[in-house]
Every structure is written in C-alpha cells, then in structure tokens.
C-alpha cells in the first residue's frame, strides 16, 4: 500500500517475478452533495470524510461537489463545522484533528495550498493560520477550504493527503458524474441525496470501487473486499475479507481419482 508510482512498481516487480500482488495506491475522492440532501443530518459526516485522520487516508473526501441551488448553504455549513474543529495532540480529550505525519509532508500539503491560491481558487479557510500553543513544534495544519475550484487545477486532480477541501460547483447531475469520473483514480466516492434515483444512478455510473450513499467514508467492513479501481489499485483480488480473498492466499489443486477392487491382498 502506498502512492501510485510505488504501488505500480511493487505490482510490476512482483508479478514479473511470478508473485501474486495486491497493491493499493493513491486516491482523489469526490463527495457530491445533491440539493435534496439532508444537509443538517449529514454535515458532520461530510466533515469527517474531509478532515478525519487529518485527511491522511485513501478514503478521505477531497473534492466537494455542489450545485447552484445548494452551493451557498453547503459552503456556509461546511465552513462553520470546519471552523469548530479543534486541532491538537490526539491524546487530549476534546481534540478533533491531530497533526500531519512529518514536517516534509506538512510542507508538501502547504505547497498544494499555495498552488490553489496561484491557480485562482478562493481560500475560504486557511489551515496554515492554526497555532497549537502547547505544542509549538508539532506538524499541525488546520482544516483548509477552497471554493471556486475548477477541475483542471492541481488541487482538484492530485492526491493531497491532508486536510484540504476543494469545492467545485457542478452544472447538473450529469456534469457531477463527469467531474467524478474525470479523475485518474477510483478509490471511493460518495453521494448525499434523498433520491433513490440519483443514488442508484450514481452507483451505476461512477467508476470508483467503494461508494458511499449518505456516508462520507465508504470503508467496507472486514468481510467485504476493499475495492479500489483505476490508478488506485493494481491487482485483481482486493484486500480484506470476501470469498475471493481466500483464493489469493491459497492455490487450487484438482484431484481426479479412480479406485480398483484389489484382486490380491497387500502385505
């Protein structure tokens, strides 16, 4: 498990040596909030998708897709919740979000924020301003939110692996699907809606292996496979449980036999 270049390398190296490989890779997960979504009931779940584990997970929401009808309301609520998250040392009780893994990774995520600014996205919430008084040397970055992001910007295309959300306004449902499927990755995607029709269409048409319906982190439980697609996974059989996973860890031997009646007594 690692970034796409590493996963690809391990997969190619392993399989060319006759080994079985499952290689999980990078992700860029789109979260679509339909105008008919139960926003108040879902907002904490949406926030958890973007900022849980400080955004350092392959199922984290990264791009938030809204529509003309609900854009302002979604942004207002998203921003309000994100502002309320407490950043700090994870062993302290009221902390919602911990630091990033390394100074170098923090700098890398900050460089994405800078690229978002230079490409013309509108910075609504700047996580760089967060100061954790008690731990001045920690690798902290607060929740960061960009609005007016377009799909060709670096922050909308590349995996950031940090607490940075990019908001894109879609023209309609068709356009939303187009945006989601434009990604080279296909790890996870979620739709928030009260419409069975949109939910069903989303499942059918979105090219991602883990799909959430009103669930922002579409993490399969242990006895289902963890299913990435496109450049998010290299291999045929996916990690975690599921009947096919058994096949990964075993070989099949087919035995064909016939028995004859002994015409002599063996000694």
């Amino acid at each position: 498990m690692g970034s796409t270049p590493v996963a690809k390398y391990v997969y190619n190296k392993g399989t060319s040596n006759g080994k079985r490989v499952q290689a999980g890779a990078s992700a860029k997960n789109f979260i679509v909030v339909m105008p008919d979504a139960d926003l108040d009931g879902s907002i904490k779940n949406i926030i958890g998708s973007f900022f849980g584990n400080a955004g350092e997970r392959c199922l984290a929401g990264s791009v938030l897709v809204t529509f003309e009808e609900n854009h302002d309301e979604v942004v207002d609520k998203f921003l309000k919740e994100a502002r309320g998250l407490k950043v700090g040392y994870g062993m302290e009780k009221d902390v919602d979000m911990g630091p990033l893994i390394r100074k170098e990774h923090l700098m890398r995520v900050i460089s994405y924020i800078e690229s978002g600014e230079s490409e013309g996205a509108r910075l609504l919430l700047d996580g760089r301003k967060i100061k954790v008084e008690k731990y001045p040397n920690g690798f902290f970055l607060g929740p960061t939110i960009f609005d007016d992001v377009s799909i060709d910007m670096k922050i909308a295309k590349e995996e950031i692996f940090g607490p940075v959300a990019s908001i894109i306004k879609a023209e309609n449902f068709e356009h939303a699907i187009e945006l989601v499927n434009s990604s080279q990755y296909g790890n996870a995607s979620s739709i928030y809606t009260r419409s069975g029709y949109y939910a069903r269409e989303y499942v059918k048409r979105v090219n991602a292996g883990n799909i959430g319906i009103n669930i922002g982190v579409a993490a399969p439980i242990a006895f289902y496979p963890f299913a990435g697609m496109k450049n998010s996974f290299f291999g045929e059989i996916h990690p975690q449980g599921g009947f096919e996973h058994v096949d990964f860890f075993t070989d099949r031997k087919v035995v064909i036999g016939k028995w004859y009646l002994l015409t002599y007594s063996p000694r």
Binding site: R102, V132, G241, K253, V254
Partner: protein
C-alpha cells in the same frame, strides 16, 4: 538517546544490525521518539528462511487449531486496545478515538478470517465419469510479504495477515518506517499467544 525499533523474527526479538537510519516522530511534539534501521539483505533472507521453515509446520496444523490462535489474538487486541491506540496516536498523530477505530478494524479482520474453517473447504463431484471422482482442494502457498503504509498502522497489516495465517501461510510484515511502533507492540503482545511462530 532514542531507542531503535527491534525486529521480531521467529517469536523473538532480534537486534537489527544497522544503526537507525530513519526517525520516528511524535508529530504533535515534533520530537524524535525512535529510530528504524534498514535491514541488510542477510537479515531479510534469514527472516524469509525462518518463515519458510515455519510454513512447513504451520501449513500442516489443522485449520480449527489455526483459528484458535486467531480467537486468542482477537481477545488480546481487545484487552490491550487503549495501550495500542496510545502508541498509534503518539507515532502517527491521529486522535485517540481514531487510533481505537484503526485497531477495531484490525480486530474485525481477525474475526472475519476466523471463518477460514468454511473458506478452506473445497468442492467435489462423485462419479464425474464412471468410477471416477474429482475434487478441488485449496492449499496454502507459502510466505507472504506485507508492506504497509503509515496512515493506518494497525488496520492495514490486518487486511492480509489474519487471512494468510488462517489459511496456513506464514507472513513477513514490513510496517511503515514512519509508524512501526504499533506493530512492534502488537508483536510483543503476541508472544503471549504461545510458542507458535506466525
């Protein structure tokens, strides 16, 4: 002086030969809390040889006995959840609740893999031709390697390890050099499971 992460091979600690090359941080404090050395080829070869040796015995262990070990492991991880989660928070940075969630998902995979008694069943046809029976059996493969990332130090090795061992294989885990302490501690605990090598 910060300590060096130890290797765990053949149910015991083995001091790595090289000096610590990589630093493990507590990212909330920005402090180095341990060092990880890069294993030499000889050390890796030795681990593979021991895993291969263990495979011959382990693959012959009946599947109900193999999953008894998983039941013990499941309880062990539950009983030590807070300690393991605290280690994860201190080496990774995620909150204590998130670290517990990470471990709970690891435990669910141990539980899921304990269905190996069913999963390992084969299929057969009696009298597929006159007097001829045919059957498909599932056999273990050997030594598996797990290279896991930093972001879920306990969950991701457990996407593979419990299934591999339940089905009769042996495993070598290379945790992320950025978050190796969680698995190091789980291995400390696993000594309590008895003398069987995993």
């Amino acid at each position: 002086m910060v300590r060096k992460i130890r290797n765990f091979i053949g149910n015991e600690y083995v001091e790595p030969r090289n000096e610590g090359k990589y630093e493990v941080f507590n990212p909330a404090f920005g402090e180095v809390i341990a060092k990880v050395s890069e294993s030499t080829k000889e050390e890796v070869d030795n681990a593979i040889d021991l895993a291969q040796e263990a495979f011959f015995k382990w693959s012959e262990t009946p599947v109900p006995d193999r999953i008894k070990l998983l039941f013990k492991l499941q309880k062990l991880l539950h009983d030590h959840m807070d300690e393991i989660a605290e280690i994860t928070t201190n080496e990774h940075g995620k909150t204590f609740e998130e670290s517990k969630g990470d471990l709970i998902r690891a435990i669910q995979n141990v539980e899921s893999a304990s269905a190996a008694t069913y999963h390992s069943m084969g299929v057969s046809n009696k009298n597929i031709a006159n007097g001829i029976d045919e059957e498909l059996i599932k056999v273990p493969l050997g030594v598996f390697a797990i290279i896991s990332p930093f972001n879920f130090p306990s969950m991701i090795p457990f996407w593979f390890m419990p299934y591999a061992i339940a089905l009769g294989n042996t495993v070598i885990i290379k945790p992320s050099e950025r978050t190796p302490m969680t698995m190091e501690y789980i291995m400390v605990l696993s000594v309590k499971l008895g003398s069987q090598r995993m």
